[in-house]
């Protein structure tokens, strides 16, 4: 496998802007801290902070109902915390919600599934179990995967996940 690299937050922001994202709904993620900092300074995309990942999913659903295009930005631990809302709202409710999920603590020299620790290792298998299409963002050349995630979310009318492989720069 290729070694995961740290992707500059500005490049992530530019991709989100190009996708027409209007809101980032987040429970603050250490792994994506630089992107959060940038979003705080940027007026083009609204940053909405939630107390829990469950709430972030429900807020994103409401935003879509109101005509907005949100992403949900969380950490892998938050993915585990919001499994029922991922199923019940995003999945069964057929909301095209894209998740940006930080793999905090991931060894950039290993595939996530090769980790001994469950926090990183179980993220992909869980998404597969939940039938959520997933993309691993390990290189700057992978940034197009975000657009692919939006496309598959729209096509399936359901959630899609982009795993952020390395701490953002």
């Amino acid at each position: 496998m290729t070694v995961a690299e740290s992707i500059p937050a500005i490049e992530l922001l530019e991709v989100l802007q190009a996708q027409g994202v209007t809101d980032v709904v987040a429970v603050p993620d250490t792994h994506q801290r630089s992107l959060i900092t940038l979003l705080d300074l940027d007026d083009s995309i609204r940053f909405i902070q939630a107390a829990t990942e469950d709430e972030a999913v429900a807020i994103a659903a409401g935003l879509i109902i109101g005509g907005r295009k949100p992403v949900v930005q969380i950490q892998h631990a938050g993915l585990y915390a919001c499994v029922n809302h991922l199923r019940g709202i995003a999945g069964d409710g057929r909301f095209p919600i894209v998740f940006l999920i930080g793999l905090l603590g991931r060894d950039p020299f290993r595939a996530p599934s090769d980790h001994a620790g469950s926090m990183v290792a179980l993220a992909e298998p869980l998404l597969d179990t939940m039938q959520v299409p997933r993309f691993l963002l390990d290189q700057r050349s992978d940034l197009g995967m975000i657009g692919a995630a939006f496309a598959v979310a729209e096509e399936r009318q359901g959630p899609a996940a982009v795993l952020i492989g390395h701490t953002t720069a």
């Binding site: 902070q49 107390a51 469950d54 429900a58 659903a61 109902i65 029922n84 019940g88 057929r94």
Partner: protein, 209 residues
């Protein structure tokens, strides 16, 4: 705190709200869904079931998308208890045209009337005030609620209205084998009920531009 023995019937509470229904987006959940929809359903109704506690944050999302459209959430006490942190999220976001009604009957109706935790020693209105809601009030008689509701609807939100209500005595006994994930009143799959409803609300909101 819930020390009063006076309580409002759910029917009366719903009636007071239903006769003021206009163009609001209304998110209802759990026991109140059926009587509300029977009384006041429009193409701006959303239900929240199977993801307990998220009616208010779904409503928050709608209001953040469309601050020009009032949003009502008709919540339950057990539901709100499952996502109590949402009070902070809503208090922080400060949606102005947002009324959060909590039917506080003190029990988990559908599972056999087990008490909501700390029943008798807590107040959702007090919790909401502490979490940053613009206003939060509680009522245990319908006359006081009827006198106050129009002013509350004119108050900049978020506003939480805690109604001390009678347990519904709902005879719902849970899904029959093989019917999980279905609405108790008509057997429609929960998933399709939400998935069917929200595009209609979206289209209604888009048509109102």
């Amino acid at each position: 705190m819930t020390t009063s023995t006076s309580r409002i019937s759910m029917d009366n509470a719903i009636e007071a709200l239903a006769k003021r229904r206009d163009d609001q987006v209304v998110v209802s959940t759990m026991t109140v869904m059926r009587p509300w929809r029977e009384r006041a359903e429009t193409d701006r109704d959303l239900i929240c079931v199977g993801s307990m506690g998220s009616a208010s944050t779904m409503g928050l999302g709608v209001q953040l998308a469309r601050p020009d459209v009032p949003v009502w959430v008709i919540d339950g006490d057990g539901s709100l208890a499952m996502q109590l942190g949402s009070l902070l999220t809503i208090g922080n976001a400060a949606p102005r045209r947002f009324m959060h009604v909590v039917m506080h009957n003190g029990v988990y109706d559908t599972s056999g009337a087990q008490p909501v935790l700390s029943e008798g020693n807590m107040s959702f209105a007090d919790l909401a005030k502490g979490a940053g809601y613009a206003d939060a009030v509680r009522f245990d008689d319908i006359e006081s609620f009827e006198l106050a509701i129009d002013d509350l609807l004119d108050t900049d939100g978020p506003v939480l209205v805690e109604l001390i209500t009678e347990p519904s005595g709902d005879s719902y006994q849970g899904p029959e084998p093989g019917t999980s994930n279905q609405l108790p009143e008509d057997g429609r799959p929960v998933a399709s009920a939400l998935a069917d409803a929200w595009p209609k609300v979206r289209d209604s909101l888009a048509g109102g531009d």
